[in-house]
Subunit: 324 residues, 2 copies
């Protein structure tokens, strides 16, 4: 954590109460002039900081921004989000994350207020205006590429858990969309670079319509999308939400690293919007209809077709159908 983030953390912990410049300078072993320069930089970022000659600096208002200092202040993780790369606007957090993955620590997060070229799965567009949560987590698990789908599953579970802690009953549509009341609130795009038998790095892109007005979305997305703001009837504290998400993610990622994937799959199954549904699956080579009856240990969907045949679907698009 850099000095500016450390100052911000102290101010947030003492929100509304002044800390003297002398105390900050002593605690951080830098000059009072340096403190003053960092305070000025924080003010330029939108933090409202009162200063009085006798009492010192006190933080009055935090901007609604996902700056590293704000997220790290009080973040209870040891790996995920220890380093955060922040952008006001960016083409795509996944693109940057893939580019820097080789030279940063595991758990580094790339986050942006908005994306100009946000991407969904298979090259699809992902609308990413201000007010959302658009972030990518860089991971370096020592696993074979064939185990990578597990990371997408744990990402879906961590998003659903974070949303539930804010109220809405989030459900997971196979393989990894997160829904509220049947409408999509989050998409996950996992990308890997690997040798045949070893992942080099993995980037988990998570896009959540937090305080976004889905009414402004293009028509083709409008009816199938929702946002946390819409479901709750008010805006959420995005910084608090990101902290919760990174914390849930870390808990599950450490479980996964320890080889305990069963518990994660149990969570996934208990929040599944797909199991029990009549679905249409489109894969590279075929379209299959059937009832989704379960997921196996690798996260593959098990379908029972009209003829009573069981089909295992490793990857594909899933559409929930109304029974006729």
């Amino acid at each position: 954590m850099n000095i500016k983030d450390k100052i911000l953390e102290k101010l947030i912990k003492n929100k509304g109460k002044p800390i003297s410049g002398e105390r900050l300078a002593n605690e951080l072993s830098i000059s009072r002039t340096a403190i003053w320069k960092h305070i000025r930089a924080l003010r330029e970022e939108g933090y409202v900081i009162d200063s009085s000659t006798n009492l010192g600096y006190s933080l009055m208002t935090l901007p609604d921004m996902l700056t590293p200092g704000g997220i790290k202040a009080g973040l209870k993780t040891s790996v995920i989000g220890k380093e955060i790369e922040y952008f006001k606007e960016i083409e795509s957090t996944n693109v940057i994350a893939c580019e820097i993955a080789g030279s940063v620590a595991e758990g580094t997060v790339v986050i942006a207020e908005s994306q100009t070229g946000g991407r969904g799965r298979l090259g699809r567009k992902w609308i990413s205006p201000e007010g959302g949560v658009w972030l990518s987590i860089i991971l370096k698990p020592k696993i074979q590429p064939s185990y990578a789908p597990r990371i997408t599953i744990l990402a879906g579970v961590s998003v659903a858990k974070a949303i539930r802690s804010f109220g809405p009953e989030a459900m997971i549509k196979w393989p990894n969309d997160v829904l509220i009341n049947g409408k999509k609130v989050c998409g996950i795009l996992t990308e890997i670079e690997a040798e045949i038998d070893m992942i080099d790095h993995c980037v988990v892109g998570i896009g959540i319509d937090a305080n976004v007005d889905t009414e402004s979305f293009p028509e083709e997305f409008r009816d199938s999308s929702t946002s946390l703001k819409k479901e709750l009837g008010h805006e959420i504290n995005r910084v608090g939400f990101v902290q919760k998400l990174l914390e849930e993610f870390e808990v599950l990622y450490l479980k996964f690293q320890e080889g305990d994937f069963t518990a994660i799959l149990e969570d996934w199954r208990s929040m599944s919007a797909t199991i029990g549904e009549w679905v249409k699956i489109t894969t590279q080579t075929r379209t299959i209809y059937g009832e989704a009856i379960g997921v196996d240990n690798e996260g593959a969907l098990i379908l029972e077709t009209d003829e009573g045949k069981l089909e295992k679907i490793v990857a594909g698009n899933c559409e929930h159908l109304r029974r006729t």
Copy 2:
């Protein structure tokens, strides 16, 4: 193919016989001055080209270089090697291939006379002096990452076939080293970039000790390595070898694309140096000893241990042991 490569192709087809500048200019629809400039560039690359005012240009000697024009002249492929990026010296053909993969056509080949930072599997060093064949093939198969090992297998088979067409009885050590008389002559490093259920691109790095003096290798590699030159007792025509390799690769890649992997596995099994051997396998998590009794449909090695138990090994290091 650019104009210079087209001129070279015509000169190679007429090797030793003159073609007039006028004919070249007409056939390629460019000026005679342009022809002359390209001839000069070819001479700078090492091609010995005679010119006479009355008769025209005739190619006398080809340099021992893997230039695109030389390889493409007479290359019987439709996808693999249609575009070739050539370097006298490069850090690593795989590194460049991964960088350009997004913006070039499938089948593009990156080739270099020598590599300064050649890499083997799992970050190991790969010695790549002049005289070898160091190339990377860029592929964009529409498959899931879990099928990528098949590409390494077909690469191993194509290398072994190309070597056999030059004489030596190449064998394949599981998973994908190519051996002659029990010594390593080729390594293969396959790297992928992918979403969870779809490969974006795949780079197959192939390094072959062709006309290399393995006696100059560091001691730790010397005894276990050989070269085509050493096995044959003379240097090989590297351009001809690369053409054969790309042609064998394409035949197998097209079979693979059509879903006919069984025939490739049959070839692999018939050239296996590992099946029937007593082996030591080291994976991420354990070491296993046993007799290699076969490979399954995905290329996993099947071992029978001392206790008669069958073990399936998807990935790992394999060491052939002498029976005691």
